[in-house]
């Protein structure tokens, strides 16, 4: 994993509660055996709507997505995280995240920033004309308008993101403990 310290740039002010992973990437596009190239299929149903944020030139090249409550609910498909990554998204800000999506995002170096609804609303407003900056070291979101919102990240996830750690390699270092568990339980 590539270390992540800071993410700065334009943000898609998508909003909407309960954005499910079927909406992020439709099932038809899960018929792939690689992780690559899913970005152009992301949010297909939303992209068909007139005036959607993804068609708005102001947000071209955005690296942050701002969503509503329970972002990423539904299917466990990691393709949703791969699609976001492929379209250039490095962080998602929302009032809350579905558990599996948050885990998948983390494994792909996408930062999930949970903030109180008024803070998310404020960032939605600011994002229409300004970039947003997310700093993992200070765990804060700041804007050129002077806003600052602190957020919490699980310490383990934060250190993995900051150091770009490979979780499987970390776990394999516990091989002796795994083997002893198997012996102890007869597994």
């Amino acid at each position: 994993m590539i270390p992540v310290r800071r993410i700065e740039g334009r943000a898609y002010p998508l909003g909407l509660a309960n954005i499910d992973t079927d909406v992020i990437i439709g099932a038809e596009h899960l018929k792939t055996i690689t992780r690559a190239g899913l970005g152009r299929h992301a949010f297909e149903t939303i992209r068909r709507e007139l005036g959607n944020v993804f068609a708005d030139p102001r947000f071209e090249g955005a690296v942050i997505l701002i969503g509503g409550d329970n972002f990423g609910c539904g299917s466990s498909r990691e393709h949703a995280a791969w699609a976001l990554l492929d379209m250039g998204i490095r962080a998602v800000i929302a009032p809350s995240f579905a558990d599996i999506f948050a885990g998948n995002a983390f494994k792909n170096g996408i930062v999930t920033v949970a903030l109180e609804p008024p803070a998310v609303q404020r960032l939605m407003d600011v994002a229409s004309d300004n970039p947003i900056r997310i700093d993992l070291e200070s765990m804060s979101v700041t804007t050129p308008a002077g806003d600052r919102f602190d957020f919490h990240l699980d310490p383990f996830r934060r250190s993995c993101l900051l150091d770009g750690l490979d979780e499987i390699a970390l776990t394999l270092a516990s091989e002796a403990a795994i083997r002893s568990y198997e012996l102890r339980t007869g597994t």
Partner: protein, 477 residues
């Protein structure tokens, strides 16, 4: 462990801790790993790239389900038929090459035991009470019906489990959903879980593991419990679990992969401890009065959008919350419904009886009971019955259920995920409406533009014979 009273979830968790880190993260041992064709190819690719092997192929079971067409698997000459869609065929070929390379047990598409991964696992006795079960599929909580701690994972975690047989996890918060009372005539486990999701909301149980308690769940059949546990994720829960009782033991005894003889007896004795201790604390607790639950149906594009069949399509303005109002407006537009319309006046063109939620033998029996002696309405374009596994199919055929369905005008298909998720040829066309026993009514879930109404197998059968969303109780009088 300490003498502190613990919930069932905490007991299973504690029994699987390999290492506990200072920040509370635990390395958790995974007893059973189910693998299917859609969420695994990139995991195997990752293993190969890192030069790693599957640590415990003996604790891993693979079966294809999402992509497989549900039409005949063999040609007239008895030879397996290839999958027409080249991308689906490629995904299946990748699974078959990966399991062969790593020595993983695999149930082939033409095997009588093939089926939806969450039907196959318990049916084969692969998943057992007190085990930790994972699969790259969010409906894995289904296995909680027999007292397993089961949850869905992403592909990176699939790779992690393949390589290490463990996962790094933070404990979830225990939550109790207690249902007391008596389920009314025509009310099924699907109606119970739809109402729980409606009450909690689509994200209401995020971060929690639900334990289903109370006399409604104690009296519920094991197959009904699969339906309930399966949809725990629709309320955002990490998992859902039932304490394994005599019914769960009876369900599993003698299954092909279940232990036998003395080992079985020893396990069964151990499972008696798998219940929440007196005085254990749930972080949250909600109560459901079973007497209040009616046969139900969803009207929107989230499983939380549920109402009794006697209800009317809601006005978006009736929701207190601004987000919910906006979501309801969008949902009604997508669903092509008008506020105030009676749900029973909503006509449907497609019927789907199947999915990991409702494709077991009891589901098919309940649907067949409604269909028996009736015909699928002439206004229905397609009505599918897709058994959850080849063994369910065989059992249904032995009971003559296939003929009840086909004589009424249903198609009787081969097992698979089918019309639940639009990854195989079974789809609902844009702007057409499906009464579906599956688990998600998301935008585009059953095909781009498809409109889904979630309901029970008996209610789907009622919709089939009337051509509209109908109150099954009126047909059963």
């Amino acid at each position: 462990m300490t003498g502190r009273p613990r919930t069932l979830y905490e007991k299973i968790w504690d029994a699987h801790v390999v290492e506990r880190r200072a920040d509370g993260t635990c390395l958790i041992y995974i007893d059973r790993h189910l693998v299917h064709e859609v969420t695994s190819p990139q995991a195997f690719e990752g293993l190969r790239a890192a030069g790693r092997q599957v640590r415990r192929p003996d604790l891993t079971l693979a079966v294809a389900d999402h992509n497989l067409p549900t039409t005949a698997r063999r040609g007239p000459d008895g030879k397996p038929l290839p999958i027409a869609d080249p991308r689906s065929a490629e995904q299946l070929a990748a699974l078959e090459a990966n399991v062969a390379e790593q020595g993983i047990r695999y149930i082939e598409p033409t095997d009588a035991a093939q089926g939806i991964v969450h039907v196959v696992g318990p049916e084969q006795g692969f998943t057992l009470p007190g085990t930790t079960v994972v699969c790259g599929d969010s409906h894995t909580a289904a296995h909680g019906a027999i007292g397993a701690l089961a949850f869905g994972i992403g592909t990176s975690e699939v790779e992690h489990v393949l390589a290490t047989q463990t996962l790094l996890l933070k404990p979830s918060r225990p939550m109790e959903v207690r249902a007391e009372g008596t389920l009314g005539f025509g009310v099924s486990p699907k109606d119970v879980i739809l109402n729980i999701v409606g009450q909690l909301g689509a994200g209401g149980a995020t971060g929690h593991v639900i334990e289903y308690r109370g006399d409604v769940f104690e009296k519920m059949s094991v197959e009904g419990r699969f339906t309930v546990a399966n949809m725990s994720i629709e309320a955002g829960a990490r998992s859902g679990i039932f304490a394994p009782d005599a019914a769960a033991v009876a369900y599993l005894e003698g299954r092909p992969m279940a232990p036998r003889g003395e080992e079985w007896d020893r396990l069964v004795a151990g499972w008696r401890e798998l219940r929440t201790d007196e005085g254990a604390v749930f972080e949250r607790s909600i109560r459901i009065d079973a007497n209040d639950i009616a046969p139900s149906v969803t009207w929107g594009t989230s499983p939380q959008d549920v109402l009794p069949i006697t209800g009317k399509v809601p006005h978006p303005d009736s929701f207190a919350d601004a987000d919910r109002r906006a979501a309801a407006r969008k949902a009604l537009d997508y669903m092509g419904l008008t506020p105030g319309m009676r749900l029973q006046d909503v006509t449907v063109e497609h019927i789907f009886i199947g999915s990991c939620t409702n494709s077991r033998i009891e589901d098919l029996r309940q649907a067949a009971e409604v269909v028996r002696g009736r015909k699928v309405s002439a206004s229905i374009k397609q009505a599918l019955v897709v058994p959850g596994s080849g063994l369910v199919k065989r059992q249904a055929e032995a009971e003559g259920l296939d003929r009840v369905f086909t004589q009424a005008g249903f198609e009787w298909r081969e097992p698979g995920c089918s019309m639940c998720l639009a990854m195989n040829p079974d789809r609902v066309p844009a702007r057409e409406r499906c009464a579906s026993t599956s688990n998600r009514n998301f935008v585009g879930r059953q095909g781009p533009g498809a409109r889904t109404h979630l309901l029970s197998p008996a209610m789907a059968a009622a919709a089939a014979v009337t051509g509209r969303l109908a109150d099954v109780r009126e047909l059963m009088r």
